[in-house]
Symmetry: C2
Subunit: 310 residues, 2 copies
């Protein structure tokens, strides 16, 4: 039996997914017909973006589930016409991408790559970096992303300290918590990586006082959210020579305005919010796997508890 | 009892080791006196560089072993006056450093970092790289260094193919061998990393014909030895657009002459033979650990079979 899959999202999303979704369905062993125009009473599953025109699910009498294209479902959980299961995106690519970006930029700073990438001037600069075992890395935030990055860096030989609000226990990682823990985590960091969520408690987490705790010459890497750093405090510490470099993937305003000082500061590297993004290929695979699970009578991954809201 | 350790090497080596060796001895629980001037009949161990003035070991009647400062012992194995054990350097830092350099530069190219490091011009270039699982890495050479690098990249999610002269079996790595294996290893490489030893068989291993097997847009990374690449073939493939980039740590002449085209070619990154070097700290720890082993009646690591020559 062919499953009719309705794609209810914007044109831009359709361009991203119109090829990878059929491939993912085929790879999962599903016979499907993907379309943006299935009749409501002929639709078996709905691949959905909350900002699509489809807001009344009542006519979709045959549909078995709504599969959200991303993790956030706050704009759809309160839709009263949606009575079938709603599934949020659980994409291993989000964590994997973050691990690759964080590991890559940590090694870049550890190895002093920029001196070579920017300095191809015929000078044989044979300064040898220390081994990873002598480069202390601190990760602020030990959620899914922080933990995965801590483990990857630990496996490469870095001594890793992790800090979180509540005490965690992760094999191989020195886990600290609370206010005293934060002071210790910062004061022993050659490289500090921010992976805290954006909450009222983490706003300006890296401010003047906390930056002052970092050893002179420390490096800041921020792939979390812009507001967790006080931008003026960061620029001041770079200008004074207290910090050696900041590599920033996230900003208070995105895209970062062309006139922002981060773009021109020689000790700042801007990357355009690419550390962790939903990639159509892994997202399509997650959607296909869930439909295959449901068709086989198994639980889907990421089914939303609409009472709790996530 | 205090052990008298004679340091027999050049002034430059003394400057590197005069602080780290005593620290390593103390860390290993050894009471030692390190000096460049112990009397021959009062010397217990000799830390040795084959290019030091000490060539007649006959007066060192009390010495228990000669600990070479590096791995190569070809200049001392035939010294007839040396009758006590000779130990070559086995330094975990050599492998660890290579893993860090190779992993770092592989991630650098994988993530497209140079576009950001070199392009801080206010343009928000939000091109997202594929995940590591979609970036095929081939390592030529599966000795100690190649195997360690293959495993580190595999752990980060890259599909890794390894090629060696004789067939190897390494968990998680697609191991190929022989001529057909080399063709397959090259034709499926988005990034190819050279870690073969320099022998007559590997001279110009990457020549015109073999570079032509690489997919268009491939990247070459060479931390092995300069002569394993045909430089003109490499430059030709970069100029024609067949190859996207080459990152080279080793050269036929080192330091690479300032006028060499590798320095100015926009698609070549030169690093100054830093991927794998003996670091005094790890080398000193290896020497101290061996003396502690010998004092405890255990076998030292790296004792040279002077008949075999290594």
């Amino acid at each position: 039996m062919t499953l009719n899959i309705l794609f209810a999202a914007t044109d831009a999303r359709w361009d991203e997914y119109k090829d990878v979704l059929p491939q993912a369905f085929a790879h999962a062993g599903l016979k499907t017909e993907l379309s943006r125009n299935h009749a409501p009473d002929q639709t078996d599953y709905i691949v959905y973006a909350p900002n699509s025109p489809l807001q009344d699910f009542t006519p979709y009498t045959r549909a078995k589930a709504v599969l959200n294209l991303w993790a956030g479902v706050e704009e759809v959980t309160h839709n009263q016409s949606l009575t079938i299961p709603l599934v949020r995106m659980v994409d291993h690519g989000l964590t994997q991408g973050m691990v690759e970006w964080v590991t890559g930029h940590t090694l870049r700073h550890h190895l002093g790559m920029d001196a070579h990438i920017l300095g191809q001037d015929g000078q044989w600069r044979s300064t040898v970096p220390p081994l990873a075992e002598d480069r202390r890395v601190t990760i602020l935030g030990l959620g899914t992303l922080g933990t995965a990055c801590a483990q990857a860096l630990c496996a490469l030989g870095f001594p890793v300290t992790g800090w979180s609000r509540s005490q965690k226990h992760i094999h191989g990682i020195r886990c600290l918590a609370g206010g005293d823990g934060l002071r210790e985590a910062l004061s022993s960091a050659d490289i500090v990586i921010l992976l805290v969520p954006q909450t009222t408690a983490t706003m300006n987490l890296l401010n003047d006082d906390r930056i002052a705790l970092l050893p002179k010459g420390a490096i800041v890497i921020n792939p979390a959210r812009g507001p967790v750093i006080d931008d003026d405090a960061l620029l001041g510490a770079l200008d004074s020579g207290h910090l050696a470099h900041a590599t920033l993937d996230v900003f208070r305003t995105e895209p970062l305005p062309p006139a922002h000082r981060f773009w021109t500061h020689p000790q700042v590297t801007v990357t355009p919010h690419i550390a962790s993004v939903t990639r159509p290929k892994t997202a399509a695979a997650a959607i296909a796997a869930n439909i295959a699970r449901n068709e086989a009578g198994n639980d889907m991954i990421g089914v939303v508890d609409r009472g709790a809201g996530y």
